[in-house]
Symmetry: C2
Subunit: 462 residues, 2 copies
């Protein structure tokens, strides 16, 4: 695609005069985001050379070393790796078949942290529930010796809120089923596609229930089981060979663009370098690390650094949960130096809305940001930011203000956590729009003296 | 969906007056096709209860027995099974991994009739060609000890013609590669999607080349290999455990609606009951057998049979090639009784054009057909039919005239021959339009005295 086509696609017509562009750092950033391929190439190389990058895997470690070099070459300061312990998890061979009434193979994927089945697998009749509530309402003991199957569907939404509404079925369902006597747990994939590619994702065992194996069926396979279960007598064979690995070492990559005046004040941009094991983690979250690093890269190309420091953090263990705590803990008393944080972790779908802490939108900073991102198709909301991203949650709990960019997520859950999460799904123009928005925000937040902590305490003006 | 919505979707507004509908068999057929769920239920049950139905497999045999009963219950005459010998083929466990520069799994599927690798698999460097011609142009011996990979892309077209343009890469490529010294052969899937679901399909070994294992990569995996191969040094591990089975028994299902006057003249409608083993054969070709049988079912509901016999043939071994020859041979001298034949084997995509033998379009029959199918959105072309479908080729070679209905195939090759070929991909309104068109054609061809053999010999009027 030509630079002009990119520009038109992003609504950049106001920036076409290059003399103007050179004079204004914000205009330079948004203009360069359109033509610069650094973030796109970063993502292509990350996903192609290292493939899937489960937390603490050899591929994740090598990808972190590579990212360190890539940031160093881009001129980031103090680029380093931070290692921390996690309980890693690896998928083994896995299969599921209908064995009665007639033999058919099913497409399944173990849920992350699921225990294995016995080596010979599990053979049992199914009890199928079309809603998670149906499973919850089942009588104790009623699933004794059965494989519990829940086939509730996720709703497709622009903002991805359909995910939060149903993901409990994946995270907590196995223990619900085990409490009723089930010996294994299968769910319809938490996803909006109709492909034979199951969606994995993390699950957690409750302490008061037996640990039973848990896996996701692809959506067409869940449909198939629903149709067959209507006649009863469906038996499955399920074999999962997953393993947990305690005290594995995950790696986070950190690099900075040191501020020219108030270097001890930090604007933190992030994504996560780890991915699930089925795909190559292009939308989750290669895109996010490319966007955060790409925004930093563009700012690094400007004639002078902004006043505050911009820090890019590529977290190393988002998918297995709770992994940003070591980073937040590690900040110690320096946590107050982080003036604002943000995470890009929703693919490369176009950003349509920004939310800032408290009443920041009404401030002089807010007006400057609104003017910078409006030509990129982004509306600055007066509603305060509510969700900052999983990796910065532990920072947020410690009082760090955060920014939230809403992206078009209509298609995100078609491929999220599946083998289909690969580089070909990335639209370069949409990735460039994300880089432009994050770079504009980061530069302004680092150049402006805005006190986000104070703003976060204020309700927005009506 | 309501009957009215169906009707509107199909452009049936002219048929809304039910008094008119009752008087005219053609109007009755098209009207009932909209509300009748027989074909859709046939397809749901076929794909759900029997799953994949490779020729001569236990599932294919059981599906044939079930289809026999379903046709008998629908009032077809002389419903019977015809058994014939084939060389069947079964897929075993299969895997492919990049082992250098870094380990990554690839999504592959053995091509139909491929030999197995040694049990330990094959480990070799790849030679990658972005076009099939590139492989053909490679020097003899230049691929010695290598795995040849061809990543040419299929073009998406309305009429599916992109398939014919490239399928030689799948059918003949392994022997091309073997002649240059390759020890295995991998292709980009012959398909238009970007999912991690490889497209299988039949291949044929030439007599003058060693038989080497052959498999298809999913499109994203082919992309990944292309990116990595640009730096060289890519090594793969490939393991396929396929098996051939000579003298297996495939089964074709035949049923008739005996004509009320000239029962010895036969209008033959067909599809194929066998499928590939990865999906449940909904678009290939559960839809076709549901359409052919469904058209017969609707005609059977009319107050009286048409003059000629309508025969529905559900062929038993299309996917492994050449399997209609036993049926054609079995007709012997009765081949002349088949006045016209047709096959539905392109999913349930909407029909937009019909082609008849020779100059039939200009005949009185042609005018009646055009009037019947125009409200269904189908144009009767003056161009003679050129391709009748793989299963009726042997009939055509023996002089049987044939009809050809062109369907919208823009998306067909997204899921053709993949695990994604499942019932959820069927649009009931589009299936109903197909049934309406085939039922209209079959009834008219059986009621009218049209001599298609004579017409087939005439060039169409300009």
């Amino acid at each position: 695609m030509s630079a002009r086509a990119f520009l038109a696609g992003l609504g950049f017509s106001l920036l076409a005069g290059s003399a103007v562009v050179a004079a204004d750092p914000l205009a330079t950033l948004t203009s360069q985001a359109v033509t610069d391929r650094w973030a796109y190439d970063f993502l292509a190389d990350l996903t192609s050379e290292f493939g899937p990058r489960p937390a603490a895997s050899p591929a994740a470690l090598r990808a972190a070393q590579w990212a360190q070099q890539r940031l160093q070459r881009a001129g980031f300061d103090d680029v380093h790796l931070e290692t921390f312990p996690v309980t890693a998890w690896t998928r083994g061979p896995e299969s599921a078949e209908i064995v009665a009434p007639l033999h058919q193979s099913l497409a399944v994927a173990a849920l992350g942290q699921s225990v294995a089945t016995p080596a010979a697998g599990i053979d049992a009749e199914i009890s199928l529930f079309k809603s998670f509530q149906g499973l919850r309402d089942a009588a104790p003991g009623s699933l004794s010796g059965k494989i519990a199957v829940v086939t509730q569907r996720m709703t497709r939404t622009q903002d991805g809120s359909g995910y939060g509404a149903i993901v409990g079925m994946r995270v907590t369902g196995a223990s619900e089923a085990a409490r009723k006597g089930a010996i294994a747990y299968l769910i319809r994939s938490v996803g909006t596609d109709n492909h034979r590619l199951p969606h994995t994702g993390v699950m957690v065992y409750a302490k008061d229930a037996p640990k039973i194996p848990a896996a996701a069926l692809s959506n067409p396979d869940a449909d198939q089981l629903e149709r067959l279960a209507a006649n009863g007598g469906v038996k499955l064979h399920l074999a999962l060979a997953s393993e947990s690995h305690e005290k594995a070492q995950a790696v986070t990559v950190v690099g900075e663009l040191r501020g020219r005046e108030t270097a001890d004040q930090v604007v933190l941009l992030s994504g996560h370098l780890d991915s699930w094991d089925l795909g190559t983690g292009a939308i989750d979250d290669g895109a996010g690390v490319a966007i955060a690093a790409g925004a930093g890269h563009l700012i690094g190309l400007l004639p002078q650094r902004p006043r505050r420091t911009i820090r890019v953090v590529l977290f190393g263990a988002e998918e297995i949960g709770g992994a940003s705590k070591p980073y937040a803990d590690g900040q110690g008393s320096k946590i107050g130096s982080i003036v604002i944080a943000g995470e890009s972790d929703f693919g490369a779908g176009r950003i349509y809305q920004a939310c800032l802490p408290g009443d920041s939108a009404g401030s002089a900073f807010g007006k400057k940001l609104a003017a910078a991102i409006e030509p990129l198709g982004v509306d600055l909301s007066k509603t305060p930011a509510r969700h900052g991203g999983a990796d910065i949650e532990d920072l947020v709990e410690r009082g760090v203000p955060f920014v939230q960019f809403s992206q078009n997520g209509l298609d995100y859950f078609d491929i999220h956590h599946t083998a289909d999460d690969t580089f070909d799904k990335i639209d370069p123009a949409e990735l460039a729009q994300n880089v432009a928005v994050w770079a504009s925000f980061a530069w302004l937040a680092a150049e402006d003296g805005m006190d986000f902590r104070a703003a976060a305490l204020q309700a927005p003006a009506k």
